[in-house]
Structure formats: C-alpha cells, structure tokens
C-alpha cells in the first residue's frame, strides 16, 4: 500500500518535472520577443520578408519626417539599420532611446508599423534640484 503510494508520488514528480522542462524550453523559444538590430542584420537572409520585432537605439539626429512616415536609424553593437515607420511615433519617442519595432525588412530598410518604447530599470529624476529648491 505505502509502496504504491510512494511510487505514484514519484511518477507524479517525474511527470511534473518533465512538464516544467517542456514549458521552460517552449517559452524559451516562443519568447524570443525581439532580435537586436545586429542579430537581425546577421539573419537577414533567413528572415526574408517575415514579420518580427527588432530592438535597438534610435540614432541621435537621424529622425526625419517623410510625408506621413517617419524615418530614422536604429543601432545596436555598432550595426545600423535604416527604418521607415508608418504613422505617428508614440509620445515618448525621441532620439537616443531604446525601442522595439514591429515590421519586416523591405529592400534596404526595415519597414515598421509599430514602435514600442523600451525602459530600463533605471529611474532618474527629471530635475534633481526640484526637491531641494521647493523645500528651501
């Protein structure tokens, strides 16, 4: 009796561990949330015109309005990707910040239709003087 129960528990644990491993592996593959700009350029041929997310920093001084579109350069690990974005970029979009774009390669540039602004876990006061000046 105790032996069967123990064996059942053991089987249960093994099954759970296997499931956990599968989920972890599956998530690991499915959660390639974005490719960095340099990775995307390296995988250019495999990607073809497939839709994916690309991540990089917006190059300072590269943002330009072209009709209804916005063009700018994305960079990561000193690899640069020219971008054409359809529509208005989000409010917090500005040169120098990291962004994730959704879209595909089209000719020489990356054609994006969605810009997601990334944030790091770094929080810096807009004006560090503010607190001291108001308290004075």
């Amino acid at each position: 009796m105790i032996d069967t129960r123990r064996r059942l528990w053991l089987a249960g644990i093994v099954v759970l561990a296997a499931l956990g491993f599968l989920v972890f592996q599956g998530l690991g593959n499915a959660t390639l949330y974005f490719r960095t700009a340099d990775e995307a350029v390296a995988q250019r041929d495999q990607l073809g015109d497939r839709r994916f997310r690309i991540e990089g920093d917006v190059v300072d001084g590269s943002v330009r309005q072209v009709g209804n579109d916005v063009s700018f350069t994305l960079t990561k690990a000193s690899v640069e990707v020219p971008v054409r974005h359809k529509g208005d970029p989000p409010e917090l979009f500005r040169p120098g910040i990291p962004v994730v774009l959704e879209g595909r390669f089209q000719g020489d540039y990356f054609s994006s239709d969605r810009i997601l602004v990334r944030h790091s876990e770094t929080y810096v006061a807009e004006n560090p003087e503010r607190v001291t000046t108001t308290l004075r």
Binding site: L27, E55, L92, L116, V117, R118, V124, R130
Partner: protein, 251 residues
C-alpha cells in the same frame, strides 16, 4: 445558538490600530508619490505609477501567494494540519487575486503611457496572466463540492502547484528578452546597485510598507470572516442533526 454581536465582529482593538496605521502610511505614500518625488527624465510624471504597480505586485505575488503556499504546506503536514491553515490559505489567495488584477490593470495603463501599448505578449506579461488564471482556478477548486477534508487537501496541493509560477514570473525578465524592465531591487545585479534616485527609492519603499500593512489589515478581517462562516456552517449542521434526532424520538 446565536452568535453574540461582539464575537461575530471581525474587528478588534488591534485591527482598528492596524487600520489607522494603514490609512496613514497609504496617505504618506500618496503625498510622496504625487508631490514630493520627482518626475523621471524619460517617463515624466508617469513614473509615479511605479509606486502603485510595484507595491500591488509585491502584495499579491510574494506576500499573499507566499502566505497561501506556506499555509497549504502546514495544512498538508500532518503535525500542523488544522482548519486554521486551510482558511488562511483561502483568505490570502483571495486578496492576492484582487491585487494581482490591480497589478495587471495599473501595468496596462503604465504600458499604454510609456511603451505605447496596453498589452504585449512578452514573457513577463504572459507568465503573470497565467499566474492570475492559476489562482482564480485555485479559488474555484476550493469551492468544488467534496467532504471538508478532501476539499482542503485538494486545495492545498493546487496552491503549491500554482506557486511554481511565481519564481517564473519573477525571473522572466532575466531569463528571456522582454519589453518589461528588469527588477528595480530584487535581482543579483541590482540588489546592491539599484539605479533609482533617493527620493524615488524611499517612496517605493514606503509604498511597499503601506501595502504590506494593508495586506495584514485585510487579512485579519477576511480570515475572521472565513472563520465565522466556518463556525456558522458547523452550527447549522449541528442544528440539522439535532432536529433529525428530535424527529426520530417523536416518531
């Protein structure tokens, strides 16, 4: 057979004091978050949502679900098995589900403002959504009819299984690439080197303390309510048995 008003109340001197402490600390957090702490250089005023989003997540994931798990283990362990731990686990999970829902909601609003989207299927957001569903499932399992012992044991096992997702949610931002930022403090990299200004850090810390107090206060009331309900059910059962017995004697 009636419960006197004093014993039927869920409040006591301690919970009243705790309640006031909670109100004061929440008010202080609000003042710190909205007035004293500065705007962020990138996020502007929307950074103030940090002081709600992190404390609600802390309350739900680590405190509530942590207590549910611990209570479930203590229930399953024969030496400590009692109704007390089962009711504690259930009460804590209810509070956890409520605040995890708030975490998701506030996170969506914050995401819309800073990222530009309400939702995206990155690893952190997806595993958190799974966690929310798992604990709703746990609350449902608690209600599946069975004898009280079977019900409690079943619930305890499900609670422990559901908790496996908590470390996955926590480490999702380190294991996989996500749109969601990494932890401000709770990671190897940031624990001793947080990248957050002094006033911002203190506001966040105060928020976490305030919401922990809120949890204790809610928990005291919710647990006592569950305890009273449990006693009432026992008495109703006793009354029913007595009535049947009386009928049997009459006939």
């Amino acid at each position: 057979m009636t419960i006197s008003p004093s014993s039927a109340s869920t409040s006591s001197r301690t919970t009243t004091i705790l309640g006031w402490l909670t109100v004061v600390s929440l008010a202080l957090t609000a003042v710190m978050a909205l007035v004293i702490s500065p705007a962020d250089v990138n996020m502007g005023d929307s950074v103030r949502l940090l002081y709600l989003h992190v404390p609600t997540a802390w309350l739900a994931m680590y405190v509530s679900f942590g207590v549910t798990t611990l209570a479930s283990v203590l229930y399953l362990w024969k030496r400590t098995r009692s109704r007390f731990w089962d009711l504690t686990a259930g009460a804590s999970a209810e509070i956890g589900v409520l605040f995890l829902g708030l975490t998701l909601l506030i996170g969506a609003i914050w995401g819309r403002i800073t990222w530009g989207v309400w939702w995206t299927w990155d690893a952190r957001l997806t595993t958190t959504a799974v966690l929310f569903v798992l604990y709703i499932g746990y609350l449902a399992v608690r209600k599946v009819p069975a004898s009280p012992e079977v019900q409690s044991r079943r619930a305890a096992i499900v609670a422990i299984a559901a908790f496996l997702d908590v470390p996955i949610v926590h480490f999702a931002v380190e294991w996989w690439r996500t749109l969601h930022q990494d932890a401000t403090f709770l990671s190897d990299r940031r624990l001793l080197d947080p990248q957050i200004g002094g006033t911002m850090a203190w506001t966040l810390f105060l928020g976490v303390v305030a919401f922990t107090l809120l949890y204790c206060w809610l928990m005291a009331h919710r647990f006592r309510l569950a305890w009273l309900e449990d006693r009432l059910a026992d008495r109703a059962m006793q009354v029913a048995i007595d009535e049947r017995r009386a009928e049997a004697v009459q006939s």
